[in-house]
């Protein structure tokens, strides 16, 4: 039997009417996208999980303010990027105060169905992304991980397209330096 696809508009309307299971469907639908954004920004750590939860809790709280002039995915990504940048600022303050180690960032989890090589690749990519400045990181995550166009990336970050392009070029260059051992093999 063919499963009917429920649109975001329907899910939002049902959530507004008090149907919590509809909101759970939104969470399940957008978890992969938001996980890619938040984990790309913060690394695979407890803080990323917390920020991920906060993204959806905020959406639920302010669902009435969502006007659907942007897609739900873009709206959620915008929240995710803003909350991740706030978390990075907090992290920086903590590091300045306590010369924090990056234990939290290294808190990686193993999924049973992932191969060792895939896991290593993920770790290396994440570590390399974590070395980038916040501005470069957000552009790179949105463009290369989430797959947004440069115009969409500019819109989400509220910066000109030209800035997105120059930041991407710089981020790419820096990332390439970190990832040399792997992509030389690939090429």
């Amino acid at each position: 039997m063919k499963k009917a696809t429920v649109t975001d508009t329907e899910l939002i309307a049902r959530t507004k009417a008090g149907e919590l299971s509809a909101f759970e469907s939104i969470v399940k639908k957008y978890e992969p996208q938001i996980a890619a954004t938040v984990i790309g920004m913060l690394g695979n750590c407890q803080a990323a999980d917390d920020v991920g939860q906060e993204v959806f809790i905020r959406l639920y709280k302010y669902l009435d303010k969502f006007r659907e002039d942007a897609s739900l995915g873009t709206y959620l990504t915008r929240i995710a990027i803003n909350l991740s940048l706030n978390e990075l600022k907090r992290r920086k303050r903590r590091q300045l105060l306590f010369t924090d180690t990056e234990d939290d960032i290294r808190d990686m989890t193993f999924e049973p169905n992932e191969s060792m090589q895939q896991k290593e690749e993920q770790e290396l990519v994440q570590k390399s992304i974590q070395k980038l400045d916040n501005n470069f990181r957000s552009v790179l995550v949105l463009r290369l991980i989430d797959g947004y166009s440069t115009a969409e990336t500019a819109e989400i970050l509220k910066i000109p397209v030209g800035t997105v392009l120059s930041r991407l070029a710089r981020a790419q260059q820096k990332l390439k330096e970190h990832l040399v051992p792997i992509f030389k093999e690939e090429a």
Binding site: E24, V27, A48, D49, Q122, V125, L175, K176
Partner: protein
């Protein structure tokens, strides 16, 4: 490798080049093995970054989000309930205090006339308008 071609190459992945720029880049790519290698490296890196993304939070993520939302809702309901309870309590205490005062006034006055109930002093219109003027010397 010329900086101009490097920039064109970078831009070609994320923006549309003009036909002129495209032609320039193509010619440069054909002429420079170094630029070709650079293109391959960028492609490999972009693939790797896309592939390397983690696309799920820890297990039972949606359940955790829903629990938090439910807990938040319950908390709000609890707050409203406790607010209502407080108002009821304040109301009851105020009603008892008013009853005690009224009873006290009735006992003191020995009547249940409205003025006696509210312990209002009985004044005539003249008494209310009576103003004592002090002699000028005393001022």
């Amino acid at each position: 490798m010329k900086r101009e071609f490097q920039e064109l190459l970078n831009r070609s992945f994320d923006a549309e080049l003009t036909p002129d720029e495209n032609k320039k880049l193509e010619t440069a790519l054909q002429a420079s093995p170094e630029l070709q290698a650079e293109k391959q490296q960028i492609l490999a890196m972009r693939n790797l970054v896309g592939r390397g993304a983690v696309r799920s939070f820890r297990p039972f993520f949606s359940a955790r989000v829903m629990n938090q939302i439910k807990a938040g809702k319950e908390q709000r309901t609890d707050f409203i309930a406790s607010l209502l309870w407080s108002f009821r309590l304040i109301g009851a205490v105020a009603a008892i205090a008013i009853a005690v005062l009224l009873t006290n006034n009735i006992i003191k006055a020995g009547s249940i006339a409205p003025d006696d109930l509210l312990a209002m002093q009985k004044l005539t219109l003249e008494e209310t308008l009576e103003i004592e003027f002090l002699p000028l010397e005393e001022l």
